[in-house]
């Protein structure tokens, strides 16, 4: 299900939110994340883990994710990743 090559977005650049742009990969090359966050030094790894974990739960194994964080909490990050991924999968 992860092979579509489609791109989709979810979220916003408002404070407390995160804008996720996801492109589903063609082959099993893993998940690549480009993170832009004001709290990268402290929470960067946690954000990576949340994004990866959410995609794994959805069965997505190959994706390029651009994450523009504006101080989102974990539950917001996973919601935006899930919404973006589902939108991409539907395309």
């Amino acid at each position: 299900m992860e092979i579509s090559g489609k791109t989709a977005q979810a979220g916003t650049l408002e404070s407390g939110d995160i804008l996720i742009t996801i492109t589903l990969g063609e082959e099993d090359k893993g998940i690549e994340i480009e993170l832009e966050s004001p709290s990268q030094a402290v929470y960067g790894q946690q954000i990576y883990n949340t994004i990866t974990g959410t995609l794994n739960d959805l069965g997505v194994r190959t994706a390029y994710v651009k994450a523009q964080d504006r101080g989102a909490l974990d539950c917001t990050i996973s919601a935006r990743v899930e919404a973006a991924a589902l939108r991409a999968l539907k395309k």
């Binding site: 979810a10 979220g11 408002e14 939110d17 989102a72 909490l73 974990d74 539950c75 919601a79």
Partner: protein, 292 residues
């Protein structure tokens, strides 16, 4: 049992993570996470997921947590229910209710979803939102349609649009629906909630409207901004004088009952069943806000 207060029901847009996150700190009696009018059609999917996650992770304090879903006639309503039902969800506010069948349809879905999710049957209550001429006409049937119903409320903007009426500060155009909502709520034995007061800068207008709805018998009001909370809570909180009077009435009637007398006078005025019922309502409010 201490009655549940519903003086304020604060609408929070279902697509705004920071507002959702902070919604528990304002002290509103109810928080209404809105998946309907506050969310554009293109964001219905992402808001549903966001609200679902928030219900599982955000601390909403002591507030009752309600979600306004999309109408069941839309492609979104049923998906909303599947996603949001969870232990922290107290109630669903169902918009555009026009017939008792609308409530019965939601009840049937809730019965199934609660069972699938291992929740106790009936743990999610229903708050019908009436906002049309037909809904207003059928208010009693709607309010009585399910034992899950906990509060009936109405939407002034949609209702006045449907009626061809103008929305004014004084609200004469809402007189009929307010009385119908109250009547329906009292017949069904549930709470009656008033519509929003839209002008955030008109505190005097909000105060007048809140005094009016309290006088009519409403239990609370929907609101669109946290700064409306304090004023409304103050209006609905009984004064010390009211509480003392209510206490004396209850004491007097209890004394009379001991003497096997049905009627008693207090300060020269007769006290009978309706006076006692009003006193009990005052004391129930006072107890719920921790004043007695």
């Amino acid at each position: 049992m201490v009655r549940r207060l519903r003086r304020t029901a604060l609408y929070i847009p279902g697509n705004d993570p920071s507002m959702i996150l902070n919604s528990g700190i304002f002290g509103a009696d109810s928080i209404v996470l809105d998946l309907e009018d506050a969310v554009s059609i293109n964001e219905k999917d992402s808001s549903r997921i966001l609200v679902r996650n928030a219900l599982q992770n955000v601390d909403f304090g002591a507030s009752e947590v309600v979600v306004r879903i999309n109408a069941l006639s839309t492609p979104f309503g049923k998906q909303d229910i599947e996603a949001i039902v969870c232990p922290r969800l107290d109630a669903i506010r169902l918009p555009k209710c026009e017939y008792a069948d609308d409530i019965m349809e939601l009840e049937k879905i809730l019965d199934r979803v609660e069972e699938e999710k291992g929740l106790k049957k009936g743990s999610v209550s229903i708050m019908p939102l009436i906002e049309s001429a037909m809904g207003s006409y059928n208010a009693v049937q709607i309010a009585k349609a399910s034992r899950r119903n906990s509060a009936v409320n109405f939407g002034g903007e949609d209702y006045t649009a449907d009626m061809g009426a103008q929305r004014t500060r004084e609200g004469a155009e809402l007189l009929d629906i307010r009385m119908r909502i109250l009547l329906a709520a009292r017949i069904a034995g549930i709470d009656a909630l008033d519509t929003v007061f839209g002008n955030l800068n008109d505190e005097e207008g909000l105060l007048e409207e809140t005094k009016l709805i309290k006088q009519l018998g409403f239990d609370g009001k929907s609101i669109i901004h946290p700064r409306q909370i304090r004023l409304i809570h103050d209006v609905f909180t009984p004064s010390e004088k009211e509480i003392n009077k209510a206490r004396r009435i209850i004491e007097a009637i209890e004394e009379a009952e001991k003497r096997k007398s049905g009627v008693v006078a207090l300060d020269g005025r007769m006290i009978d069943a309706p006076v006692v019922a009003k006193a009990r309502r005052v004391l129930a409010f006072a107890e719920a806000v921790g004043l007695v």
